[in-house]
Amino acid sequence: MSRVGRLRSNDDTTPWQGAYAPYDLVKELCIAIGVIAMLAILLTVLFSSPDDRPSTIAQWSRQQPVNFLAAATKELNDTSDTAEYGPPYNHNSDGQHAAFIYLQKWLGVSHPINTADDFVIDPLKTIPNDRALQSAVAEYQAAPEQTRKAWGEAYAKPLEERETALEEEKTPTKAVAADPATGTVTVQASGAGPVPMMMGSLLDLAKSGGLDGSLLTSNQFFQTDYTRPLLFMADGGLLAERAEGQHLLGEQWGMMNETGSYPGQTWLWLYTLWYQIEPFKSSENADILVMMMMGALSLAFICIPFIPGIRSLPRKIPIYRLIWKEHYRAQQSA
């Protein structure tokens, strides 16, 4: 059989010429709406719905000031996840790809983010009446790139060492001292230039709630775009810590779940499944591979009537005998 022949179905189903019985479609729909509405109300009364308050940068900087400083320093040094993300935020990498397909790169940078400027420098410039800080910012911006990098790395090193030690449950370095009562952090970093002053001021700004507002500010009054504060927070540890507590991490079937014991987006189970198994699980390009897999499966799902084998299974596995049990019984007894 030719390829075209295999795709063509031998379907010779003809229009029904048999008996009809009274059937009130409108009544059925009205009853269904009533039943579903009552069921939804019953589930609401029994289980309500989750509504955990959102995190803020102010909350993050107060609860985890060292983690905040470590993340913010990475933003300044262009070494955070967002800084190295690539499109649609910046050109610092090509993003993910599958073989020769670079869709992320091809679609370009549509929401430009310069983490050093947008997350650190520009918010610091909004702090009024602090000449020492503005001098530090000016000094930082005037310095050659290599010097800025050296300053940033000198400041980041003890912070990262402390974060790593805490993760591995080892004794943290004494170069970073955090006072839980006041939320102040002292970082002993030699050769960090103006960076300690800048980051100290950024921490104060964050704790006051000013950074939350500053990251939403653009050239217009009304704001609905939370891309910058969300990406900044996602680079830190607070969101992930809360997510882990609610079983929302990628290895915990991720975003198909929601907070509390609610079903969440169970219809995403197949999408989430791929992230749990190899080769997707450990691939650097897991997202594009999973999306392409789901794209192919979705297309196959739509095209089931035209896929030989798949379209014939219902005839071979006689579940239809159960569905049309009454019809076949009536035929038998006729």
């Binding site: 063509r8 179905s9 031998n10 379907d11 010779d12 189903t13 003809t14 229009p15 029904w16 048999g18 008996a19 009809y20 009274p22 059937y23 479609l25 409108v26 729909l29 039943v35 579903i36 939804a40 289980f47 719905s49 509504d51 955990d52 308050r53 995190s55 649609p88 992320q104 091809w106 679609l107 549509s110 929401h111 775009d225 939370y226 969300l230 990406l231 969101l239 990628g250 975003m255 929601e258 907070t259 219809w267 995403l268 997202d287 999973v290 999306m291 392409m292 794209g295 739509i302 009537p305 035209f306 005839r315 596995i317 239809y320 569905i323 049309w324 009454e326 009536a330 035929q331 006729a334």
Partner: protein, 236 residues
């Protein structure tokens, strides 16, 4: 000598004739169905539509009061919960309906478009729900949006569909995607009405004998129509 000229039908007239020709009123809203439409599985299609009605009704209440209302009022939270559970029921009904239609091979007899529109409804409903989850303005919205962005960005979709942009997601969720779902459901139902509910498979061992029996019984047996003569065989 004068000749009477038939005026050309107007565009409106042509549309009416095409619509009535494709779906005459008795086909659009029939008060009878083939006798084989007698199984609980048929309930899940209408349950899906009923869930969609409840989703839209509760969603309209939430939209009337604005996106933050449900966070600080008990009534708002109540309607948000109805909205959530109606969505869960919608997907449940739709998945059972889809499985049922698969095992019926409901695309037979020129009904491929019925299957295709049904499958596309499911696929469009997924981002409709996702945009709802990321528009919640709570921790779920923060976490889901920062996770979902990676998959969408990896295939370039994030360049024009930014899940961390609340304003854009809210627009998609309350207007664009629900409109697409409703339009697809209308098309799906009209196609079902046009082609009718797919007839059962003919049982291999019964095909010949039932055809003979049908011919012998004649029209007297029919409740509302002509007698049964199932010649529906399996697709390849």
């Amino acid at each position: 000598m004068s000749a009477t000229q038939t005026p050309l039908p107007s565009w409106t007239g042509r549309v009416r004739e095409a619509a009535v020709g494709a779906l005459p009123p008795e086909k659009l809203l029939p008060d009878s169905q083939p006798t084989y439409v007698a199984s609980w599985i048929y309930v899940f299609g209408v349950a899906g539509i009923a869930s969609l009605v409840v989703i839209i009704a509760s969603g309209c209440v939430l939209a009337l009061k604005g996106p933050a209302w449900w966070h600080y009022t008990g009534v708002g939270h109540f309607f948000n919960s109805i909205h959530l559970w109606a969505v869960e029921l919608f997907f449940f009904a739709m998945v059972v309906h889809l499985w049922g239609k698969y095992w019926m091979a409901a695309w037979r007899g020129g009904r491929a478009r019925v299957w295709i529109t049904g499958a596309v409804i499911f696929l469009v409903a997924v981002p409709t729900a996702l945009t709802g989850y990321v528009s919640q303005q709570n921790f779920d919205a923060q976490w889901i949006s920062t996770q979902a962005k990676d998959g969408l960005n990896s295939v370039g979709v994030g360049a024009f569909f930014n899940v961390t942009n609340f304003g854009q997601m809210y627009s998609y969720h309350v207007l664009l995607l629900p409109a697409a779902v409703v339009a697809l459901v209308v098309a799906h139902v009209l196609l079902v009405r046009r082609h009718g509910v797919v007839p059962p498979f003919a049982l291999e061992d019964r095909t010949a004998s039932s055809e003979v029996a049908s011919a012998e019984r004649g029209s007297a047996r029919a409740v509302g129509e002509v007698p049964s003569s199932p010649t529906n065989r399996a697709p390849s």
